[in-house]
Protein backbone atom coordinates (compact mmCIF):
# COMPACT_ATOMS: atom_id res chain seq x y z
CA UNK A 1 0.00 0.00 0.00
CA UNK A 2 0.99 3.65 -0.42
CA UNK A 3 1.32 6.41 2.14
CA UNK A 4 -0.91 6.27 5.19
CA UNK A 5 -3.34 9.15 5.60
CA UNK A 6 -5.07 9.68 8.95
CA UNK A 7 -8.64 10.96 8.55
CA UNK A 8 -10.00 12.45 11.78
CA UNK A 9 -13.71 13.22 11.64
CA UNK A 10 -16.68 12.36 13.84
CA UNK A 11 -18.82 11.88 10.72
CA UNK A 12 -18.54 8.33 9.45
CA UNK A 13 -19.88 9.54 6.09
CA UNK A 14 -17.08 12.03 5.65
CA UNK A 15 -14.49 9.42 6.62
CA UNK A 16 -15.97 7.06 4.05
CA UNK A 17 -15.97 9.74 1.33
CA UNK A 18 -12.36 10.66 2.07
CA UNK A 19 -11.46 6.99 1.86
CA UNK A 20 -13.25 6.58 -1.45
CA UNK A 21 -11.60 9.73 -2.81
CA UNK A 22 -8.04 8.76 -1.87
CA UNK A 23 -7.85 4.96 -2.05
CA UNK A 24 -7.98 4.89 -5.87
CA UNK A 25 -4.96 7.21 -5.81
CA UNK A 26 -3.00 4.60 -3.89
CA UNK A 27 -3.29 5.99 -0.37
CA UNK A 28 -4.16 3.93 2.69
CA UNK A 29 -6.71 5.61 4.91
CA UNK A 30 -6.70 5.22 8.70
CA UNK A 31 -9.79 6.48 10.49
CA UNK A 32 -10.31 8.22 13.84
CA UNK A 33 -13.55 9.69 15.21
CA UNK A 34 -11.89 12.36 17.37
CA UNK A 35 -8.54 13.92 18.25
CA UNK A 36 -7.82 11.57 21.12
CA UNK A 37 -8.27 8.44 19.00
CA UNK A 38 -6.17 10.12 16.30
CA UNK A 39 -3.27 10.66 18.71
CA UNK A 40 -3.41 6.96 19.60
CA UNK A 41 -3.39 6.08 15.89
CA UNK A 42 -0.30 8.24 15.30
CA UNK A 43 1.59 5.96 17.65
CA UNK A 44 0.52 2.84 15.76
CA UNK A 45 1.07 3.88 12.14
CA UNK A 46 3.47 5.72 9.86
CA UNK A 47 1.17 8.65 9.18
CA UNK A 48 2.17 10.82 6.21
CA UNK A 49 -0.65 13.35 6.50
CA UNK A 50 -3.57 14.14 8.82
CA UNK A 51 -6.91 15.33 7.40
CA UNK A 52 -8.70 16.77 10.42
CA UNK A 53 -12.18 18.12 11.16
CA UNK A 54 -12.41 21.10 13.54
CA UNK A 55 -15.57 20.41 15.49
CA UNK A 56 -15.46 17.02 17.17
CA UNK A 57 -16.39 15.62 20.57
CA UNK A 58 -13.79 14.59 23.21
CA UNK A 59 -10.89 16.42 21.50
CA UNK A 60 -11.51 18.91 18.71
CA UNK A 61 -9.26 19.56 15.72
CA UNK A 62 -7.41 22.54 17.20
CA UNK A 63 -6.66 20.65 20.41
CA UNK A 64 -5.45 17.68 18.40
CA UNK A 65 -3.05 19.79 16.33
CA UNK A 66 -1.73 21.48 19.47
CA UNK A 67 -1.12 18.09 21.08
CA UNK A 68 0.47 16.77 17.86
CA UNK A 69 2.85 19.71 17.55
CA UNK A 70 3.94 19.30 21.17
CA UNK A 71 5.13 15.76 20.52
CA UNK A 72 8.52 15.84 18.77
CA UNK A 73 7.97 12.45 17.17
CA UNK A 74 4.74 13.63 15.46
CA UNK A 75 5.32 17.36 15.02
CA UNK A 76 6.65 16.89 11.47
CA UNK A 77 3.38 15.30 10.25
CA UNK A 78 1.60 17.77 7.97
CA UNK A 79 -2.01 18.57 8.81
CA UNK A 80 -4.82 19.88 6.66
CA UNK A 81 -8.19 20.85 8.10
CA UNK A 82 -11.35 19.58 6.42
CA UNK A 83 -14.28 21.35 8.02
CA UNK A 84 -17.57 23.16 7.53
CA UNK A 85 -16.01 26.15 9.28
CA UNK A 86 -15.17 28.93 6.83
CA UNK A 87 -14.62 31.97 9.08
CA UNK A 88 -11.33 33.80 8.44
CA UNK A 89 -10.76 34.01 12.19
CA UNK A 90 -10.81 30.23 12.53
CA UNK A 91 -8.56 29.84 9.50
CA UNK A 92 -6.10 32.21 11.12
CA UNK A 93 -6.09 30.02 14.24
CA UNK A 94 -5.30 27.04 12.05
CA UNK A 95 -2.52 28.92 10.26
CA UNK A 96 -0.98 29.93 13.58
CA UNK A 97 -1.07 26.31 14.66
CA UNK A 98 1.07 25.50 11.64
CA UNK A 99 -1.38 23.49 9.54
CA UNK A 100 -0.71 23.18 5.80
CA UNK A 101 -4.19 23.86 4.51
CA UNK A 102 -7.88 24.44 5.17
CA UNK A 103 -10.51 22.73 3.03
CA UNK A 104 -14.12 23.74 3.52
CA UNK A 105 -16.70 20.99 3.19
CA UNK A 106 -18.16 19.87 0.92
CA UNK A 107 -15.00 18.85 -0.89
CA UNK A 108 -14.56 17.47 -4.40
CA UNK A 109 -12.73 14.16 -4.55
CA UNK A 110 -10.27 15.11 -7.33
CA UNK A 111 -9.34 18.37 -5.55
CA UNK A 112 -8.79 16.60 -2.25
CA UNK A 113 -6.63 14.00 -4.00
CA UNK A 114 -4.54 16.76 -5.61
CA UNK A 115 -3.98 18.52 -2.27
CA UNK A 116 -3.02 15.26 -0.57
CA UNK A 117 -0.61 14.30 -3.35
CA UNK A 118 0.98 17.73 -3.15
CA UNK A 119 1.41 17.63 0.62
CA UNK A 120 2.56 14.04 0.83
CA UNK A 121 5.23 14.68 -1.85
CA UNK A 122 6.64 17.53 0.24
Amino acid sequence: MGSQILCVDDSVTIRKLVKKALEPEGFEIIEAENGQVALDQCGKCEVSLCIVDVNMPVMDGFQFVEALKQKPEYSHIPVVFLTTESAAQKKQVGKELGVKGWIVKPFEAPSLAKVVKMLVKQ
Binding site: D9, S11, V12, T13, I14, K16, L17, K20, A21, N55, T84, K105, P106, F107, E108, A109, P110
Partner: protein
Protein backbone atom coordinates in the same frame (compact mmCIF):
# COMPACT_ATOMS: atom_id res chain seq x y z
CA UNK B 1 -43.53 82.58 78.77
CA UNK B 2 -41.54 85.47 77.33
CA UNK B 3 -42.88 87.71 80.02
CA UNK B 4 -41.91 85.26 82.76
CA UNK B 5 -38.44 85.14 81.43
CA UNK B 6 -38.18 88.91 81.46
CA UNK B 7 -39.49 88.98 85.09
CA UNK B 8 -37.03 86.27 86.10
CA UNK B 9 -34.19 88.24 84.58
CA UNK B 10 -35.23 91.38 86.38
CA UNK B 11 -35.45 89.51 89.64
CA UNK B 12 -31.99 88.12 89.20
CA UNK B 13 -30.64 91.59 88.65
CA UNK B 14 -32.43 92.84 91.78
CA UNK B 15 -31.11 89.95 93.82
CA UNK B 16 -27.64 90.59 92.52
CA UNK B 17 -27.88 94.23 93.53
CA UNK B 18 -29.22 93.31 96.98
CA UNK B 19 -26.56 90.69 97.38
CA UNK B 20 -23.99 93.15 96.51
CA UNK B 21 -25.46 95.76 98.91
CA UNK B 22 -26.36 93.72 102.01
CA UNK B 23 -24.87 90.73 103.72
CA UNK B 24 -25.72 87.10 103.43
CA UNK B 25 -28.53 86.99 106.02
CA UNK B 26 -30.21 89.97 104.64
CA UNK B 27 -29.69 88.49 101.36
CA UNK B 28 -31.39 85.23 102.31
CA UNK B 29 -34.31 87.08 103.73
CA UNK B 30 -34.58 89.33 100.86
CA UNK B 31 -34.16 86.38 98.61
CA UNK B 32 -37.03 84.62 100.32
CA UNK B 33 -39.22 87.59 99.76
CA UNK B 34 -38.14 87.85 96.28
CA UNK B 35 -38.82 84.18 95.72
CA UNK B 36 -42.30 84.52 97.18
CA UNK B 37 -42.91 87.54 95.05
CA UNK B 38 -41.52 85.75 92.14
CA UNK B 39 -43.74 82.76 92.78
CA UNK B 40 -46.76 84.97 92.96
CA UNK B 41 -45.78 86.59 89.71
CA UNK B 42 -45.12 83.19 88.27
CA UNK B 43 -48.46 81.76 89.33
CA UNK B 44 -50.28 84.74 87.89
CA UNK B 45 -48.25 84.40 84.75
CA UNK B 46 -48.86 80.70 84.58
CA UNK B 47 -52.58 81.13 84.94
CA UNK B 48 -52.71 83.47 82.00
CA UNK B 49 -50.35 81.29 80.04
CA UNK B 50 -52.40 78.14 80.67
CA UNK B 51 -55.57 79.74 79.44
CA UNK B 52 -53.79 80.76 76.25
CA UNK B 53 -52.34 77.32 76.01
CA UNK B 54 -55.72 75.70 76.48
CA UNK B 55 -57.07 77.66 73.58
CA UNK B 56 -54.17 76.71 71.49
CA UNK B 57 -54.51 73.07 72.49
CA UNK B 58 -58.12 73.10 71.51
CA UNK B 59 -57.27 74.47 68.13
CA UNK B 60 -54.55 71.93 67.70
CA UNK B 61 -56.87 69.13 68.83
CA UNK B 62 -59.34 70.17 66.19
CA UNK B 63 -56.54 70.28 63.69
CA UNK B 64 -55.26 66.85 64.75
CA UNK B 65 -58.76 65.46 64.65
CA UNK B 66 -59.12 66.62 61.06
CA UNK B 67 -55.71 65.29 60.19
CA UNK B 68 -56.62 62.03 61.89
CA UNK B 69 -59.72 61.78 59.80
CA UNK B 70 -57.67 62.42 56.69
CA UNK B 71 -55.17 59.83 57.79
CA UNK B 72 -57.97 57.38 58.48
CA UNK B 73 -59.27 57.95 55.02
CA UNK B 74 -55.80 57.56 53.59
CA UNK B 75 -55.29 54.43 55.64
CA UNK B 76 -58.44 52.87 54.37
CA UNK B 77 -57.41 53.82 50.83
CA UNK B 78 -53.98 52.27 51.45
CA UNK B 79 -55.58 49.13 52.78
CA UNK B 80 -57.65 48.91 49.63
CA UNK B 81 -54.54 49.47 47.57
CA UNK B 82 -52.72 46.82 49.59
CA UNK B 83 -55.52 44.41 48.88
CA UNK B 84 -55.34 45.25 45.22
CA UNK B 85 -51.59 44.83 45.24
CA UNK B 86 -51.92 41.54 47.08
CA UNK B 87 -54.37 40.41 44.44
CA UNK B 88 -51.95 41.54 41.74
CA UNK B 89 -49.10 39.77 43.50
CA UNK B 90 -51.16 36.59 43.68
CA UNK B 91 -51.81 36.92 39.97
CA UNK B 92 -48.12 37.48 39.32
CA UNK B 93 -47.27 34.54 41.55
CA UNK B 94 -49.61 32.41 39.52
CA UNK B 95 -48.13 33.81 36.36
CA UNK B 96 -44.62 33.14 37.64
CA UNK B 97 -45.64 29.63 38.56
CA UNK B 98 -47.08 29.12 35.12
CA UNK B 99 -43.92 30.59 33.63
CA UNK B 100 -41.78 28.30 35.77
CA UNK B 101 -43.90 25.35 34.68
CA UNK B 102 -43.55 26.47 31.09
CA UNK B 103 -39.79 26.81 31.50
CA UNK B 104 -39.65 23.27 32.87
CA UNK B 105 -41.78 22.10 30.01
CA UNK B 106 -39.43 23.77 27.52
CA UNK B 107 -36.51 22.09 29.30
CA UNK B 108 -38.24 18.73 28.96
CA UNK B 109 -39.04 19.52 25.32
CA UNK B 110 -35.40 20.42 24.72
CA UNK B 111 -34.34 17.04 26.04
CA UNK B 112 -36.89 15.48 23.71
CA UNK B 113 -35.57 17.57 20.82
CA UNK B 114 -32.08 16.43 21.65
CA UNK B 115 -33.22 12.83 21.39
CA UNK B 116 -35.07 13.54 18.13
CA UNK B 117 -32.06 15.39 16.81
CA UNK B 118 -29.92 12.34 17.54
CA UNK B 119 -32.49 10.23 15.70
CA UNK B 120 -32.21 12.56 12.70
CA UNK B 121 -28.42 12.50 12.79
CA UNK B 122 -28.21 8.72 13.21
CA UNK B 123 -30.77 7.99 10.55
CA UNK B 124 -29.44 10.46 8.01
CA UNK B 125 -25.90 9.32 8.66
CA UNK B 126 -26.84 5.69 8.20
CA UNK B 127 -28.83 6.53 5.08
CA UNK B 128 -26.03 8.70 3.70
CA UNK B 129 -23.50 5.97 4.36
CA UNK B 130 -25.70 3.44 2.58
CA UNK B 131 -26.17 5.88 -0.27
CA UNK B 132 -22.42 6.45 -0.43
CA UNK B 133 -21.79 2.72 -0.64
CA UNK B 134 -24.43 2.33 -3.37
CA UNK B 135 -23.12 5.29 -5.32
CA UNK B 136 -19.60 3.94 -5.26
CA UNK B 137 -20.88 0.47 -6.13
CA UNK B 138 -22.53 1.98 -9.20
CA UNK B 139 -19.27 3.74 -9.98
CA UNK B 140 -17.25 0.53 -9.58
CA UNK B 141 -19.78 -1.39 -11.64
CA UNK B 142 -19.70 1.23 -14.36
CA UNK B 143 -15.91 1.13 -14.36
CA UNK B 144 -15.90 -2.67 -14.52
CA UNK B 145 -18.33 -2.61 -17.45
CA UNK B 146 -16.20 -0.02 -19.21
CA UNK B 147 -13.03 -2.02 -18.52
CA UNK B 148 -14.70 -5.12 -19.92
CA UNK B 149 -15.90 -3.24 -23.01
CA UNK B 150 -12.46 -1.74 -23.50
CA UNK B 151 -10.83 -5.14 -23.06
CA UNK B 152 -13.20 -7.13 -25.27
CA UNK B 153 -14.05 -4.58 -27.92
CA UNK B 154 -10.64 -2.97 -27.65
CA UNK B 155 -9.08 -6.22 -28.79
CA UNK B 156 -11.48 -6.27 -31.71
CA UNK B 157 -10.37 -2.83 -32.80
CA UNK B 158 -6.76 -3.00 -31.61
CA UNK B 159 -3.81 -2.34 -33.92
CA UNK B 160 -2.62 -5.95 -33.64
CA UNK B 161 -5.10 -8.67 -34.49
CA UNK B 162 -8.10 -6.40 -34.21
CA UNK B 163 -11.16 -6.54 -36.41
CA UNK B 164 -10.10 -3.48 -38.33
CA UNK B 165 -6.69 -4.98 -39.00
CA UNK B 166 -8.36 -8.24 -39.94
CA UNK B 167 -10.63 -6.35 -42.26
CA UNK B 168 -7.68 -4.63 -43.91
CA UNK B 169 -5.94 -7.98 -44.23
CA UNK B 170 -9.08 -9.45 -45.75
CA UNK B 171 -9.17 -6.60 -48.24
CA UNK B 172 -5.53 -7.32 -49.11
CA UNK B 173 -6.41 -11.01 -49.35
CA UNK B 174 -9.29 -10.14 -51.62
CA UNK B 175 -7.01 -8.15 -53.87
CA UNK B 176 -4.60 -11.08 -53.95
CA UNK B 177 -7.46 -13.46 -54.81
CA UNK B 178 -8.54 -11.18 -57.62
CA UNK B 179 -4.95 -11.05 -58.84
CA UNK B 180 -4.75 -14.80 -58.50
CA UNK B 181 -7.92 -15.23 -60.53
CA UNK B 182 -6.45 -13.10 -63.27
CA UNK B 183 -3.25 -15.09 -63.11
CA UNK B 184 -5.18 -18.37 -63.21
CA UNK B 185 -7.17 -17.17 -66.16
CA UNK B 186 -3.97 -16.24 -67.94
CA UNK B 187 -2.45 -19.63 -67.06
CA UNK B 188 -5.59 -21.41 -68.22
CA UNK B 189 -5.58 -19.52 -71.49
CA UNK B 190 -1.88 -20.18 -72.00
CA UNK B 191 -2.35 -23.80 -71.07
CA UNK B 192 -5.21 -24.26 -73.48
CA UNK B 193 -3.23 -22.46 -76.19
CA UNK B 194 -0.18 -24.59 -75.58
CA UNK B 195 -2.24 -27.79 -75.58
CA UNK B 196 -3.85 -26.78 -78.83
CA UNK B 197 -0.38 -26.18 -80.19
CA UNK B 198 0.67 -29.64 -79.02
CA UNK B 199 -2.47 -31.12 -80.64
CA UNK B 200 -1.68 -29.36 -83.89
CA UNK B 201 1.91 -30.48 -83.73
CA UNK B 202 0.81 -34.05 -83.08
CA UNK B 203 -1.60 -33.90 -85.97
CA UNK B 204 1.22 -32.72 -88.23
CA UNK B 205 3.40 -35.52 -86.84
CA UNK B 206 0.53 -37.91 -87.65
CA UNK B 207 0.57 -36.59 -91.20
CA UNK B 208 4.31 -37.24 -91.29
CA UNK B 209 3.78 -40.82 -90.12
CA UNK B 210 1.07 -41.25 -92.78
CA UNK B 211 3.59 -40.08 -95.35
CA UNK B 212 6.21 -42.39 -93.85
CA UNK B 213 3.72 -45.29 -93.99
CA UNK B 214 2.92 -44.45 -97.57
CA UNK B 215 6.62 -44.25 -98.39
CA UNK B 216 7.23 -47.52 -96.55
CA UNK B 217 4.42 -49.25 -98.44
CA UNK B 218 5.76 -47.97 -101.72
CA UNK B 219 9.34 -48.94 -100.70
CA UNK B 220 7.99 -52.40 -99.81
CA UNK B 221 6.33 -52.71 -103.25
CA UNK B 222 9.53 -51.43 -104.78
CA UNK B 223 11.56 -53.97 -102.77
CA UNK B 224 9.19 -56.79 -103.86
CA UNK B 225 9.57 -55.71 -107.47
CA UNK B 226 13.37 -55.49 -106.98
CA UNK B 227 13.37 -59.04 -105.55
CA UNK B 228 11.37 -60.28 -108.55
CA UNK B 229 13.75 -58.54 -110.90
CA UNK B 230 16.77 -59.89 -108.95
CA UNK B 231 15.34 -63.42 -109.18
CA UNK B 232 14.96 -63.00 -112.91
CA UNK B 233 18.55 -61.88 -113.17
CA UNK B 234 19.60 -65.18 -111.56
CA UNK B 235 22.99 -65.48 -110.17
CA UNK B 236 23.83 -61.92 -111.21
CA UNK B 237 20.91 -60.51 -109.29
CA UNK B 238 21.55 -62.56 -106.21
CA UNK B 239 23.35 -59.72 -104.38
CA UNK B 240 20.67 -57.25 -105.44
CA UNK B 241 18.03 -59.74 -104.20
CA UNK B 242 19.65 -59.61 -100.74
CA UNK B 243 19.54 -55.78 -100.81
CA UNK B 244 15.91 -55.88 -102.01
CA UNK B 245 15.04 -58.25 -99.15
CA UNK B 246 16.75 -55.92 -96.69
CA UNK B 247 14.95 -52.91 -98.16
CA UNK B 248 11.68 -54.81 -97.93
CA UNK B 249 12.43 -55.69 -94.31
CA UNK B 250 13.35 -52.02 -93.61
CA UNK B 251 10.15 -50.87 -95.29
CA UNK B 252 8.14 -53.24 -93.10
CA UNK B 253 9.97 -52.09 -90.01
CA UNK B 254 9.40 -48.47 -91.04
CA UNK B 255 5.70 -49.20 -91.50
CA UNK B 256 5.53 -50.86 -88.18
CA UNK B 257 7.29 -47.89 -86.49
CA UNK B 258 5.06 -45.48 -88.34
CA UNK B 259 2.02 -47.43 -87.13
CA UNK B 260 3.34 -47.35 -83.61
CA UNK B 261 4.09 -43.62 -83.87
CA UNK B 262 0.62 -43.05 -85.27
CA UNK B 263 -0.95 -45.10 -82.51
CA UNK B 264 1.11 -43.30 -79.87
CA UNK B 265 0.32 -39.90 -81.31
CA UNK B 266 -3.35 -40.80 -81.57
CA UNK B 267 -3.26 -41.90 -77.97
CA UNK B 268 -1.33 -38.74 -77.01
CA UNK B 269 -3.83 -36.59 -78.87
CA UNK B 270 -6.62 -38.21 -76.89
CA UNK B 271 -4.68 -37.74 -73.69
CA UNK B 272 -3.95 -34.11 -74.52
CA UNK B 273 -7.58 -33.56 -75.43
CA UNK B 274 -8.68 -35.17 -72.20
CA UNK B 275 -6.07 -33.13 -70.34
CA UNK B 276 -7.25 -29.90 -71.96
CA UNK B 277 -10.77 -30.77 -71.03
CA UNK B 278 -9.98 -31.90 -67.47
CA UNK B 279 -7.46 -29.24 -66.51
CA UNK B 280 -9.42 -26.59 -68.28
CA UNK B 281 -12.44 -27.52 -66.17
CA UNK B 282 -10.36 -27.71 -63.03
CA UNK B 283 -8.81 -24.36 -63.72
CA UNK B 284 -12.23 -22.96 -64.48
CA UNK B 285 -13.54 -24.42 -61.20
CA UNK B 286 -10.58 -23.04 -59.32
CA UNK B 287 -11.13 -19.62 -60.84
CA UNK B 288 -14.85 -19.78 -60.05
CA UNK B 289 -14.11 -20.89 -56.50
CA UNK B 290 -11.60 -18.13 -56.07
CA UNK B 291 -14.08 -15.65 -57.50
CA UNK B 292 -16.76 -16.94 -55.16
CA UNK B 293 -14.38 -16.73 -52.23
CA UNK B 294 -13.49 -13.20 -53.26
CA UNK B 295 -17.17 -12.28 -53.39
CA UNK B 296 -17.64 -13.73 -49.92
CA UNK B 297 -14.64 -11.80 -48.68
CA UNK B 298 -16.04 -8.64 -50.21
CA UNK B 299 -19.44 -9.26 -48.62
CA UNK B 300 -17.86 -9.91 -45.21
CA UNK B 301 -15.73 -6.79 -45.50
CA UNK B 302 -18.77 -4.80 -46.51
CA UNK B 303 -20.68 -6.05 -43.46
CA UNK B 304 -17.70 -5.88 -41.15
CA UNK B 305 -16.66 -2.29 -41.80
CA UNK B 306 -19.79 -0.60 -40.40
CA UNK B 307 -19.82 -3.08 -37.52
CA UNK B 308 -16.23 -2.21 -36.66
CA UNK B 309 -17.17 1.45 -36.85
CA UNK B 310 -20.10 0.73 -34.52
CA UNK B 311 -17.80 -1.12 -32.11
CA UNK B 312 -15.48 1.88 -32.08
CA UNK B 313 -18.47 4.08 -31.36
CA UNK B 314 -19.56 1.76 -28.54
CA UNK B 315 -16.07 1.91 -27.02
CA UNK B 316 -16.09 5.68 -27.26
CA UNK B 317 -19.59 5.91 -25.81
CA UNK B 318 -18.62 3.55 -23.00
CA UNK B 319 -15.63 5.74 -22.15
CA UNK B 320 -17.82 8.83 -22.18
CA UNK B 321 -20.44 7.10 -20.03
CA UNK B 322 -17.86 5.92 -17.54
CA UNK B 323 -16.36 9.41 -17.32
CA UNK B 324 -19.84 10.85 -16.92
CA UNK B 325 -20.65 8.36 -14.14
CA UNK B 326 -17.39 9.24 -12.37
CA UNK B 327 -18.15 12.94 -12.64
CA UNK B 328 -21.71 12.43 -11.42
CA UNK B 329 -20.44 10.37 -8.50
CA UNK B 330 -18.06 13.18 -7.59
CA UNK B 331 -20.99 15.62 -7.73
CA UNK B 332 -23.16 13.30 -5.63
CA UNK B 333 -20.42 12.87 -3.02
CA UNK B 334 -20.25 16.65 -2.70
CA UNK B 335 -23.97 16.73 -1.95
CA UNK B 336 -23.70 13.78 0.44
CA UNK B 337 -21.39 15.85 2.62
CA UNK B 338 -24.22 18.25 3.42
CA UNK B 339 -25.36 15.58 5.88
CA UNK B 340 -22.38 16.61 8.00
CA UNK B 341 -23.48 20.26 7.79
CA UNK B 342 -27.04 19.28 8.70
CA UNK B 343 -25.71 17.32 11.67
CA UNK B 344 -23.70 20.28 12.90
CA UNK B 345 -26.54 22.75 12.35
CA UNK B 346 -28.84 20.48 14.35
CA UNK B 347 -26.25 20.27 17.10
CA UNK B 348 -26.02 24.06 17.18
CA UNK B 349 -29.81 24.36 17.38
CA UNK B 350 -29.92 21.86 20.21
CA UNK B 351 -27.10 23.68 21.98
CA UNK B 352 -29.02 26.96 21.66
CA UNK B 353 -32.22 25.42 22.99
CA UNK B 354 -30.31 23.74 25.77
CA UNK B 355 -28.74 27.01 26.78
CA UNK B 356 -32.10 28.80 26.74
CA UNK B 357 -33.79 25.91 28.54
CA UNK B 358 -31.06 25.93 31.18
CA UNK B 359 -31.70 29.62 31.80
CA UNK B 360 -35.39 28.84 32.09
CA UNK B 361 -34.71 26.03 34.55
CA UNK B 362 -32.47 28.28 36.63
CA UNK B 363 -35.11 30.99 36.56
CA UNK B 364 -37.81 28.60 37.64
CA UNK B 365 -35.54 27.25 40.39
CA UNK B 366 -34.83 30.77 41.67
CA UNK B 367 -38.30 32.17 41.41
CA UNK B 368 -40.43 29.16 42.15
CA UNK B 369 -39.61 25.81 43.57
CA UNK B 370 -41.43 23.23 41.54
CA UNK B 371 -42.15 20.02 43.28
CA UNK B 372 -40.77 16.76 41.90
CA UNK B 373 -44.32 15.73 41.11
CA UNK B 374 -44.86 18.88 39.07
CA UNK B 375 -41.59 18.32 37.20
CA UNK B 376 -42.61 14.77 36.40
CA UNK B 377 -46.02 16.02 35.33
CA UNK B 378 -44.40 18.42 32.88
CA UNK B 379 -42.26 15.61 31.50
CA UNK B 380 -45.35 13.46 31.06
CA UNK B 381 -47.21 16.29 29.42
CA UNK B 382 -44.39 16.89 26.95
CA UNK B 383 -44.33 13.21 26.10
CA UNK B 384 -48.09 13.18 25.62
CA UNK B 385 -47.79 16.22 23.37
CA UNK B 386 -44.99 14.60 21.39
CA UNK B 387 -47.09 11.50 20.97
CA UNK B 388 -49.68 13.54 19.12
CA UNK B 389 -47.03 14.59 16.56
CA UNK B 390 -45.15 11.33 16.04
CA UNK B 391 -45.63 9.55 12.75
CA UNK B 392 -42.50 7.45 12.30
CA UNK B 393 -41.29 4.30 13.99
CA UNK B 394 -37.93 5.93 14.66
CA UNK B 395 -39.62 8.61 16.75
CA UNK B 396 -41.43 6.02 18.83
CA UNK B 397 -38.35 3.91 19.26
CA UNK B 398 -36.28 6.91 20.31
CA UNK B 399 -38.59 7.42 23.26
CA UNK B 400 -39.03 3.77 24.13
CA UNK B 401 -41.73 1.34 23.18
CA UNK B 402 -43.86 2.16 26.17
CA UNK B 403 -45.05 5.32 24.42
CA UNK B 404 -47.09 3.40 21.93
CA UNK B 405 -47.76 -0.21 22.73
CA UNK B 406 -49.69 -0.65 19.49
CA UNK B 407 -46.55 0.04 17.50
CA UNK B 408 -44.70 -2.59 19.49
CA UNK B 409 -47.38 -5.13 18.77
CA UNK B 410 -47.31 -4.26 15.09
CA UNK B 411 -43.54 -4.59 15.11
CA UNK B 412 -43.74 -7.99 16.71
CA UNK B 413 -46.36 -9.07 14.19
CA UNK B 414 -44.27 -7.86 11.28
CA UNK B 415 -41.23 -9.68 12.72
CA UNK B 416 -43.01 -12.97 12.20
CA UNK B 417 -43.27 -12.19 8.48
CA UNK B 418 -39.68 -11.15 8.05
CA UNK B 419 -38.68 -14.55 6.79
CA UNK B 420 -41.13 -14.27 3.93
CA UNK B 421 -40.98 -10.62 2.94
CA UNK B 422 -38.17 -8.11 2.93
CA UNK B 423 -38.88 -4.76 4.54
CA UNK B 424 -41.52 -3.50 6.88
CA UNK B 425 -44.65 -4.98 5.29
CA UNK B 426 -47.90 -5.62 7.06
CA UNK B 427 -50.57 -7.65 5.33
CA UNK B 428 -54.22 -7.47 6.41
Amino acid sequence: MQKLSVAGAALEIVLLIIYLISGSIAFIYAAGLVVVALMVILIVGLQSESSIQAERNEEEFDKYTRENQLLQEKLSQSEAQIQEMKAELREKDEYLHKYAVQCRKIAEATDAEKILSKVIVDKTETATLELTNHVYSIGDWSKDVDDMIQRVFGQLTSEEGGLRVQSVRMEEELRRIEQLIQEFKAIRDNYIGELEMIEKTMKSVDQFTATITDLSERTNVLAINASIEAARAGQAGRGFAVIAAEVQGLAKSTMKIADEISTTIESSVHTVKDSISTYGERLQNAVEKLAHSGEKHAAVIEQLTPQIDRVSEVIEESQKLSSSVTKNINDVTVHLQYQDSVRQILQHMVQLFESLAQEGVEFSAESEQLSQTEIEQQADEVRRLLKTFFTTREEWQAFGHEIDEDIVEETEKSDTQKNELNGDITLF
